[in-house]
Symmetry: C2
Subunit: 397 residues, 2 copies
């Protein structure tokens, strides 16, 4: 029995990360769990806000099970869509209507609906490097093509200079991740204003609108009082894909939404297409109980200070040791520049000290490694002598 | 902004059912909710077993939130996969290993993973009419082609006589729904034994194995002591897609699994492909809390007597009035033969009496209507005078 060609490609690509994870496990079996410093996985570890549990208990107690666990419209419960729209309108001075909100199986479920709804085979999705590696799979599902704008490694803002030349007639979507995984950088208001200008020009040139998709699972994870500009305030044809995975530490529950800008071109048709895709892709609807839970918790978030403390320790320690780091402003990732040309050698050198780091080649931006600092503070503390030894390999000769 | 060609087709097809539903709503606004007899939707209405609520409360109380709501392997929690395998092995004398079980976002999520994993564009999925209309969308997502074996309207068993001639080199999957939606018929052991013989012959002829996918959301809804044969006991290359939507009345929670026969050709590769598809399609994993809830409730099911009582009332009343009905053995649907050649005329005539029935043309089997009897007994009782008037249109002249 033959699997599809597309799936063969997916399997080949996916084995890299699995291998890294397994290496970490094998290492732990030999040297002990406490002596392995695994910075590979972006898995939220801070507890959900107390209100999550309270909400589950209240809902199970108060609501009819037929309502709580039953089918609703494919777009989600009306009460949830209304609450999300109101919350976004209040927080970001938007004017969403409830029908602009479609509840989804996480942000990834939203992205997949969008690509299925918009892409014909060979249509192109443009994204800025560095980018979340899974984007390639999401686009490949529907025989689209991911086009990567090379990273601007000066400040990791989107590389607007090179964008225009990569937009063609086949370009349907521009996919943006803000705050960015893997860089931890927040795209600035200035970048977004300039981006809209470039898009308008390009749209006139190619004769059709480009849908800008803002993937924002890390929106609530911003540090030093940094503002994450709300994309649809600057970009006209914008769909926000949001997930509660990080803000409420509920990644396993698969709950998020799409917010379709009321100003988007062909708004009604886009909404209808996304809803029918949500059904046709077998999601049918976002999980029902957790739709109602997140409605209760729209103003809640996890204790971001825990991530912030990790961030400061890691950034300050590693820069003091001589590493060049990209200062993270959001999310829970930090890029470290490889001290040698081929960052895979740096990754391998790290393993000798039981440090598991991810090469950024799979994020479309070679020459760096990504550290996910969503791990206990104590683990980071314990890793520092190992990083020190790693630094000495390169900087003290 | 243009939506994809595929999505245009989906939208055109989906409007039929929505229109029917909206007509019912409009009707209710005019003549009153109680005077509309809506048999259109297959929405479970019996309460979940008590243990569902107990399990949620216990889990929320006892488990670490990082475990309860966190990421696990894309295939699901190990403890859940083990429990499902054990339960199937015990109930059906199978020999599943935990890694043969992949938890999915409902049965529809499993079907979508399978089609993405196996189909190259233009590959064919064969199914027996009448078939669940959404199958067409699931296959279309990946540019596959649904090939329909015409119904055997003598007994609504799978039409094995016409199957062989529809299997070609492009045939990758045979998709079976048992108990069947819309007919309510259970495919017999004899049918499945003969099916395996035909498949073996066909596989030799076309030179590759065919994956038989058994979509079984209605497995637990069987009446009069009828046995639903366990497909993998008779069919070698079989994947079962199961959902707890009907057995536990949890359709909104999107929880199910795939059970991959340990005997399937290229078992390991198929499993790997399905797991990577589960991730790449944005499901990532089945919702975490409800994975653990269904683990607690594997031996539970809703009170099927409620559906059975509806079934008997409807079947006995309508046949007594002169309608020709297909006696349902499982699920919660019944087919009624249209008394006139074009069943759309029958549907329209029904509306005059405020009876909402679904034409079976969209199930690949014109000439009938489907009645979904998952509605209150009282509604069926109240509908009988309306059905009597409808019968008089045709049988008393």
């Amino acid at each position: 029995m033959n699997i599809s060609e597309k799936t063969k490609t997916l399997l080949a690509g996916s084995s890299v990360i699995r291998k890294l994870f397994e290496e970490g496990r094998e290492m732990a079996a030999v040297v002990g769990e406490k002596n392995v410093y695994d910075f590979s996985l972006g898995n939220p570890f801070v507890s959900p806000p107390k209100k999550v549990k309270e909400s589950i208990l209240r809902l199970v107690d108060e609501k009819e099970p037929g309502y709580l666990h039953g089918y609703m419209k494919n777009a989600g419960y009306d009460e949830v869509r209304s609450a999300v729209a109101e919350s976004l309108n209040r927080r970001f001075e938007m004017h969403y209507q409830p029908n602009n909100i479609i509840m989804t199986v996480g942000a990834a479920g939203g992205l997949t609906c969008i690509f299925s709804s918009l892409l014909n085979p060979d249509d192109e999705v443009v994204c800025f490097a560095p980018y979340f590696g899974e984007y390639r799979s999401y686009v490949m599902n529907f025989y689209g093509k991911l086009v990567v704008v090379p990273a601007d490694t000066r400040d990791f803002q989107p590389n607007l200079e090179e964008l225009d030349s990569l937009i063609h007639e086949k370009t349907k979507v521009l996919l943006i991740n803000n705050p960015n995984n893997p860089s931890g950088v927040i795209y600035s208001r200035e970048s977004l204003i300039r981006l809209q200008e470039i898009l308008e020009q390009a749209e006139r040139r190619i004769g059709h609108a480009i849908c800008v998709v803002s993937d924002e699972p890390y929106r609530e994870l911003a540090y030093d009082g940094a503002e994450v500009p709300y994309m649809p305030k600057y970009i006209k044809n914008c769909i926000v894909c949001y997930s509660f995975s990080k803000s409420l530490s509920l990644p396993g529950e698969r709950i998020g939404y799409m917010a379709i800008s009321p100003d988007i071109e062909s708004c009604q048709e886009i909404e209808d297409a996304l809803i029918v895709s949500n059904r046709a892709l077998g999601y049918i609807n976002a999980p029902s109980l957790f739709q109602l839970v997140v409605k209760d918790c729209l103003e809640e978030k996890v204790n971001v200070d825990i991530y912030d403390k990790n961030r400061r320790l890691l950034y300050e320690s590693l820069t003091a040791m001589g590493f060049t780091c990209v200062k993270p402003q959001g999310a829970f990732y930090m890029l470290v520049k490889s001290p040698v040309a081929n960052e895979q050698d740096f990754v391998n050198e790290g393993k000798k000290h039981h440090i598991i780091m991810v090469s950024t080649s799979s994020f479309g931006c070679p020459g760096y490694v990504r550290l996910a600092y969503c791990i206990p503070y104590e683990t980071i503390e314990r890793s520092l002598p190992a990083f020190q030894k790693l630094a000495e390999t390169y900087f003290n000769e």
